[in-house]
Amino acid sequence: MDAETHELIAGYALDALDEGDRARAKEVLASSEEAREELRSLTEAAATMATATAGPAPSTGLRDRILDAARAEPQNVVSLEERRRSRLLPVLGIAAAVAACAALALGLWGASVSSNLDDARSALARERAAAAVLAQPTSEASLTGARGRLVVGDDGRAVLVVSDVPPVPTGKTYQVWVIDDGRPVSGGLFAPGNGTLAIPVDGTVGNGSVVAVTVEDDGGASAPTGKPVIASAPVSLS
C-alpha cells in the first residue's frame, strides 16, 4: 500500500472523511485484503480512544428505550425475509439479465428518469457501466422483497436487477443503499417502473455488503429513514 492509501484508511477509521473520499476508501477496501486488515487494526486503535473519555453516565432509562425500539423494529434481512417469504417468486435467471441488457441498450431506463441532457449523459455512462457488469458478472446475490437479483462485477460494481417495482406516492422515490458493517451509504435513486429494471448501484460493494432499497422523499436522504422494501443477501466474492 502507498502512503496515500494508508492515509485514506486512517481517515476512514476516524470517521474523518468527506463523502467523496469515503467512496474512494470503500473502493480500495472492496478490492484489497491488505487494506481491510489495515482498517481492522486502525479501527481498533481509534475505538480505543472511546475508552479515554470520561463524563456522565447515560440515563438509566436508555437501555429500556433501546430494547423497546428494537422490539418495535423488525430486523433488516432476517425479518424481511420472514415477512415476505410467502410472496417470494423464483429469482430471475440469465434470460432476465439478458432482457435487462436489451432494455439498457434501448436507453429505456435512462430515458425514464432523465429530464435534461446532463442527466441523460450521466445515465448513459451509468448504463454502460451496468451493461459491462451484466455482461460479465462474477457474483450474484438473491433478493427479498422483490423479484430479481443483485449482480456484481469483478471490480465491485453492482447492478440491481428487479422486476415490476410498484409505484411510490407522489413526492417519493426509491433509494438504494450499500450497507457495510451496518453503515448505509447511498447507492443512488431510481424511479419505479414496469417490466425489468437494471439499476446501477453507485459506489462499490465488497464481501458481506448488503444492498437494500428504501422509499424516501424526492431527492433522497442522507441516511435511510424507513425500513427497507428490498434487501439483498450479503454479497459473497470469492
Binding site: 486512517a10 481509534a46 470520561a54 447515560p58 437501555r63
Partner: protein
C-alpha cells in the same frame, strides 16, 4: 408477589436477570444471537458496551439528549444489521462503538455543534454510575489511564489531528481549514498519529498487565 410491588423498571431488570443466560458468552456470540432477533442478547451487549459508547457520543456531542440519540441509533443499527457483522473484520465491541461514533459524528456535523476543548471532568474521578459494578468502573478507569498515557506520548501535532477528528467530529478538509495547514499535512499527521497510537497500545498490552478488550 414481590415482583408486583416493584416499580416497572425494576421489574424489567428482574425479567432480564431471569434471562441472564448470556453472561458467559463472548461479545461476538451475542451479536450472532442478536442477528437472530434475540433482544436479551442486545440488552447484554448494551450492558457491556453501552457505557463506553455513551462516553464517546457525549464527548463528541456534549449534550446528553443527543448523545443518547446517537447511542440508541447505533445500537439499533447493530440490531438491524447484525446479520452482516463479520467477526474477522472487527471485534463486536469495536463494531458497536464504531456505529455509535459514526452516528455521533453525523449528528455533530448536522447540528454544527463542535466542541474541541477537553471535558472538564476528564481529569477528575468518574461520577458514580448506578448501572455499573465497582469492578467495571475500576476497569474503565484503568483503561482510560492507559489510553490517555498513549495519547500523551504522541507528538503534539499528531495528537491534535486525531483528537479533533475523533472527539471533535471534524473531517480532514475541515481540520486543514481550521488549523490553516495543507490538507496533505493533515492526512499524513492523522495516519502517523493513529498508527503510532496503535503501536503504543500494542506495547502496553504486551507488557502483560492489561486486558486488551474494550469490555470486561
Amino acid at each position: 408477589m414481590l415482583v408486583e410491588s416493584l416499580p416497572s423498571s425494576a421489574r424489567v431488570r428482574q425479567d432480564d436477570l431471569a434471562l441472564r443466560r448470556h453472561t458467559h458468552l463472548s461479545d461476538e456470540a451475542l451479536v450472532a444471537l442478536v442477528a437472530r432477533g434475540d433482544e436479551s442478547a442486545l440488552g447484554e451487549l448494551y450492558d457491556r458496551v453501552g457505557r463506553v459508547a455513551y462516553g464517546i457520543a457525549y464527548r463528541v456531542l456534549r449534550d446528553d439528549r443527543l448523545a443518547e440519540d446517537a447511542v440508541q441509533e447505533g445500537f439499533l443499527a447493530a440490531w438491524r444489521s447484525a446479520t452482516a457483522f463479520r467477526a474477522d473484520r472487527a471485534k463486536a465491541s469495536t463494531w458497536i462503538v464504531t456505529l455509535v461514533h459514526r452516528r455521533a459524528v453525523d449528528i455533530v456535523r448536522r447540528e454544527e455543534r463542535r466542541r474541541a476543548e477537553p471535558l472538564e471532568s476528564e481529569s477528575r474521578p468518574d461520577p458514580p454510575d448506578p448501572s455499573g459494578s465497582a469492578e467495571d468502573a475500576a476497569w474503565l478507569g484503568f483503561e482510560r489511564d492507559r489510553v490517555q498515557a498513549a495519547l500523551r506520548a504522541l507528538p503534539d501535532t499528531q495528537r491534535e489531528s486525531i483528537e479533533l477528528a475523533y472527539y471533535g467530529g471534524y473531517s480532514q478538509a475541515e481540520l486543514a481549514e481550521r488549523l490553516g495547514v495543507p490538507l496533505g499535512t493533515i492526512k499524513s499527521r492523522m495516519f502517523a498519529g493513529l498508527a503510532r497510537l496503535r503501536e503504543l497500545l500494542d506495547e502496553a498490552e504486551s507488557e502483560g498487565s492489561w486486558t486488551p478488550r474494550l469490555t470486561s
